[in-house]
């Protein structure tokens, strides 16, 4: 018996991974070579190559711009894109809601509020000026997530698509007004509202790239490790419990990992919306919903998408720089409508 509903899904093989990785690498090279200032491909390669092997790099503008401005930025964008996309994919699976994401659910705004409060109050950790802000961003991200989920559960236990997003949007608006209030009173101590609401990778450095790498390795590793559990959650939370998933524990761990990762991203680059919403969705079209394939695919596609968005932000109106959130939101809002429409049709 043959059934025509069989899905002709391309197997997601190591070759596909290799292709995605190659795509990411090419995008990174493109983004390292193209920028507001024109630097020849040859100079770029020489600078990067020599620096990579610890040789001395010929002095000059190419070295300063490529090694100190563009490269750290490309690295940070890559890691942030991968992290945000991974978080989006994890939340969409965990909550069984294709519209869930750090930005639609207000987690990013919560993290931004934490960072702003840390900056305004001068809260720092001993040994690291940056750490205080990051820890506060993580804590607030987690707090917001718990708050939003509690509210959503109270309203609608099934966590239906609409209600959770509605709460997220209202929460985001609420937090944004608090941030703008704080900035009005203490503008001298924190970045502009623009940075927190639209995000920017301007002026990022290698330290931040290292931080993002560490966060992605630790928390991203945790999320990847929970792919089978995420599959179970994506099928249904009750079903997950029936097949033996430790529902409470797994949920708590994933939520902590997600908020920590989003917290780190927000403290580096502000709120970059929609990456985590759009890219897992596109990845899902490619690989199907199985998180074993979906999560790595989201990781790569998120990095590629954010790299291209940042490239646009850097070069479109050169020498002026756009906020990266302007670019991602333009693309993301359109995608949001499409996804909403498609999920509506699927029911």
């Amino acid at each position: 018996m043959k059934d025509d509903r069989s899905m002709k899904r391309e197997r997601f093989t190591p070759v596909t991974y290799a292709l995605l990785a190659a795509g990411l690498l090419l995008t990174m090279i493109l983004c390292a070579c193209v920028g507001s200032v024109r630097i020849s491909f040859q100079d770029t390669v020489i600078a990067v190559w020599n620096a990579l092997w610890g040789r001395s790099v010929p002095q000059g503008i190419a070295k300063n711009i490529i090694l100190n401005v563009r490269l750290p930025r490309v690295l940070c964008v890559t890691l942030s894109g991968a992290s945000l996309s991974l978080c989006g994919a994890a939340m969409q699976g965990l909550l069984r809601n294709p519209l869930a994401d750090g930005s639609t659910m207000g987690v990013s705004s919560g993290a931004a509020l934490g960072a702003v409060i840390a900056m305004v109050t001068g809260f720092t950790l001993p040994g690291s000026a940056y750490g205080g802000m990051m820890v506060m961003a993580m804590a607030f991200a987690f707090g917001s997530l718990v708050l939003i989920l509690t509210l959503a559960y109270a309203l609608d236990r099934s966590l239906a698509t609409g209600s959770i997003i509605l709460i997220g949007v209202i929460f985001t608006m609420f937090i944004s007004s608090i941030i703008s209030l704080i900035i009005t009173f203490a503008s001298d101590h924190t970045r502009s509202l623009n940075f927190w609401t639209l995000g920017s990778f301007s002026g990022v450095n290698y330290d931040q790239a290292r931080l993002l790498l560490l966060a992605l390795a630790v928390f991203g590793g945790v999320i990847l490790r929970f792919s089978p559990e995420l599959n179970a959650f994506a099928v249904g939370e009750d079903n997950a419990r029936h097949i033996g998933v430790n529902v409470k524990r797994v949920k708590l761990i994933i939520l902590i990992a997600v908020s920590a990762l989003i917290g780190v991203c927000v403290s580096v680059s502000g709120t970059v919306s929609f990456v985590g919403l759009v890219m897992p969705h596109i990845a899902r079209m490619l690989t199907g919903p199985n998180h074993k394939r979906l999560l790595p695919a989201s990781l790569f596609s998120g990095a590629i998408f954010l790299l291209l968005a940042d490239l646009t932000a850097r070069t479109l109106l050169s020498p002026i720089e756009l906020s990266i959130g302007v670019v991602t939101s333009l693309v993301g809002a359109a995608a949001f409508v499409v996804i909403f429409y498609r999920t509506g049709k699927a029911r």
């Binding site: 018996m1 043959k2 059934d3 509903r5 069989s6 899905m7 899904r9 069984r96 809601n97 294709p98 490790r225 089978p228 559990e229 599959n231 179970a232 994506a234 099928v235 249904g236 009750d238 079903n239 419990r241 029936h242 097949i243 033996g244 998933v245 430790n246 529902v247 899902r284 199907g288 919903p289 199985n290 699927a346």
Partner: protein, 253 residues
């Protein structure tokens, strides 16, 4: 195998299950019967550790609260009344999730035995041809069969079923019940199920618990519990008369 003592579940002021005890032994198929709102599904939720309850439920003498979720899943498999999948998982992927509790390390792939179990479950439920179909394209009955296959793949000792024939047309109703009956034949297994259709309960059950307003009215062998008198009292209607009336529709042509 599975023994519940003084199980009580409260939703706010309402007592959904009231001081209920039962004992499910090897080889039994225990039917939970009773009118709507009697607390049958609630009892099953409690056994599946889905809602808080007082009293104890023991698996071979051990309180199941102390079991890890994966340990419990290897002993008890639950088929819920309603299952819906939000994403386009394939039938095979959803059935394969049944193996979750049997996986040891997170990097170890599914072992041969697991694959065989999934294959067997697909075959038993007649889903082999649909294995690559997206869950979103399935009918309600097909979806229910997928989750039945999942619980078979899970290979527990006790099956707990909430309306296993829900959404299924007659052919598959018969098929599924026969299937469960043959599953039960192997030693060391038992079934506990909620069945609305009292004829099915009598036809396939070995034992029964008749519930009304959270309490156990009667339990024991099916023939002793699902008697005309008790049923009429609990359902507040002459159940036997109604059943005969239904049957008579087929006798006179």
């Amino acid at each position: 195998m599975l023994q519940g003592s003084h199980i009580t579940v409260r939703y706010g002021d309402r007592t959904a299950v009231d001081d209920l005890s039962f004992h499910l032994r090897e080889g039994q198929w225990m039917m939970l019967a009773g009118p709507n709102g009697a607390g049958k599904s609630t009892l099953i939720e409690a056994i599946a550790q889905g809602i808080p309850y007082t009293g104890t439920i023991e698996w071979q003498g051990r309180d199941i609260r102390t079991l890890k979720p994966a340990q419990l899943a290897r002993c008890i498999g639950v088929l819920a009344q309603k299952n819906a999948v939000g994403y386009a998982y394939t039938v095979e992927e959803v059935v394969g999730l049944g193996r979750y509790a049997h996986k040891t390390g997170f990097l170890s792939g599914e072992c041969e035995e697991g694959k065989a179990q999934v294959e067997k479950a697909l075959e038993m439920t007649g889903l082999t041809a649909l294995r690559h179909a997206s869950m979103l394209t399935l009918s309600g009955g097909e979806t229910q069969r997928v989750f039945l296959a999942q619980v078979f793949a899970q290979n527990p000792r006790v099956l707990i079923l909430d309306e296993p024939a829900n959404h299924l047309d007659l052919k598959y109703q018969q098929y599924v019940f026969t299937l469960i009956q043959s599953w039960l034949k192997e030693p060391g297994r038992a079934v506990l199920s909620v069945v609305h259709d009292l004829s099915l309960a009598r036809r396939y059950g070995t034992h029964a618990v008749l519930m009304d307003r959270g309490k156990s009215v009667s339990q024991g062998l099916v023939a002793d519990v699902l008697t005309p008198d008790l049923l009429s009292w609990v359902y507040e209607m002459d159940v036997c008369l109604w059943m005969r009336d239904m049957l008579s529709q087929w006798e006179s042509r």
